[in-house]
Homo-oligomer: 250 residues x 2
């Protein structure tokens, strides 16, 4: 199975700390990794078909503190689709003049939807197929970009048609909001004032956010498994689509 | 004005040598850079809104020899559109289950086409607008991916509708072929056996391809201005859409 990491913030924040812990996990998830950073409407996507623990691209991400309000990262353990660049998450498409970024952890069985519109998979994963279907259906429901609330409602309607095929933990963003859903495993944490010290679960590294963060900063971190000890991570309620805006669940 | 660099090869080749010379030119083109590498059907896209000469992302590209059969790079001097990540070339979209990569040098005046289909610009450049219009029209002409020859013919029909608006030098690839067109400036070079020494125009660096290249390797390099001395660069015939496959013009 793959692992997911997402971040939604009220001010542009770098993800170096969380990504460092997350990338360590790639020893067991060695079939590629990817990370997408929104910067306003633009997206920076880094993908590699080697493990994040050895990839020079992952090394750059750990050293270059890119500040973003919405980030989605993924480390891959191939279930469907061969090991290739085109099968690395996150996937990116454009809809309504905005980029959409999607990453999935899970395995959808016998999922072969009719893709009759503008979105077709380039690779051969169930995940990219699910993303294309989601965008196709969103485009049918709304003529142009609706509010975050309306999108959340539509996603909540659509997602059961995917999650009935198997494990479907995913993250999705268009740069304003970050949506996440789990039917098995996903955890989130809202990091806000009063800040304290956080220690990574997977690496010998800690940060004192009281010294680093501004008083009003707020960050929602979402991950397959909690990334830090001494912070109050919450397990996702299965089946619910959660939207995060400005560093907190709506 | 911006500058373009493209490469099409018969075997996966790294572009470190050419990109090193090309990136030097970014002192005068400091409004961002980007480079896209096809690896089979997948694309690796690196963009930054700072100059290639100072960007850590460009530094990675110079050090990490990514092997690819089709590469498109761009350094930006903003004419239309503000300096932002979403306005950095190359742009990427999906059509017929393949990624398409596009970069443009020039300035299209009063170009406001009706974009009624699946492709909408995210940023505010004339270039991304032109790319969206091209894909929209390609999708109208062909129901699924046609041959390179058929695509070249369609592009040759469509391009005058863009180039009548101003300077329109561009490169386009879907991973199999690289198309290029100039109505002002673009040069190409086919590097093949017998190989010799090439010296960069902009940097004190030379390579002996006789020692590095395989007997059957063939590379077509396309750039706004010739990148090397002692090699026979050819200026593009204005108005003609050239398709390169396996390292040579069709």
């Amino acid at each position: 199975m793959c692992q997911l990491l997402g971040m939604n913030c009220n001010t542009p924040t770098d993800i170096v700390f969380s990504f460092t812990g997350f990338a360590t996990r790639s020893s067991e998830h060695g079939d590629g990794f990817g990370i997408a950073f929104f910067e306003e409407r633009g997206v920076r996507l880094f993908v590699d078909h080697v493990a994040a623990s050895v990839s020079p691209v992952a090394e750059l991400v750990k050293r270059y503190p890119i500040k973003s309000r919405n980030v989605i990262a993924h480390i891959r353990k191939a279930t469907q689709g061969h090991v290739a660049l085109e099968n690395c998450h996150p996937f990116v498409r454009e809809l309504w003049g905005r980029y959409w970024v999607f990453a999935h952890n899970g395995n959808l069985k016998d999922f072969a939807p009719r893709l009759h519109a503008a979105f077709h998979p380039v690779g051969d994963t169930d995940s990219e197929r699910a993303f294309c279907w989601l965008l196709q259906e969103l485009a049918k429901h709304h003529a142009c970009m609706p509010t975050v609330e309306a999108l959340t409602e539509t996603l909540q309607e659509l997602v059961p048609q995917l999650s009935c095929h198997g494990t479907f933990n995913f993250m999705l963003s268009q740069g304003d909001a970050l949506w996440a859903h789990a039917n098995t495993r996903l955890h989130y944490l809202v990091r806000q004032s009063p800040f304290g010290v956080a220690r990574l679960q997977d690496e010998d590294m800690q940060l004192n956010f009281a010294e680093l963060a501004g008083e009003k900063d707020r960050v929602c971190v979402i991950a397959t498994e909690p990334l830090t000890v001494d912070e109050p991570w919450t397990a996702f309620e299965p089946g619910r689509v959660m939207a995060c805006v400005n560093g907190a669940p709506l």
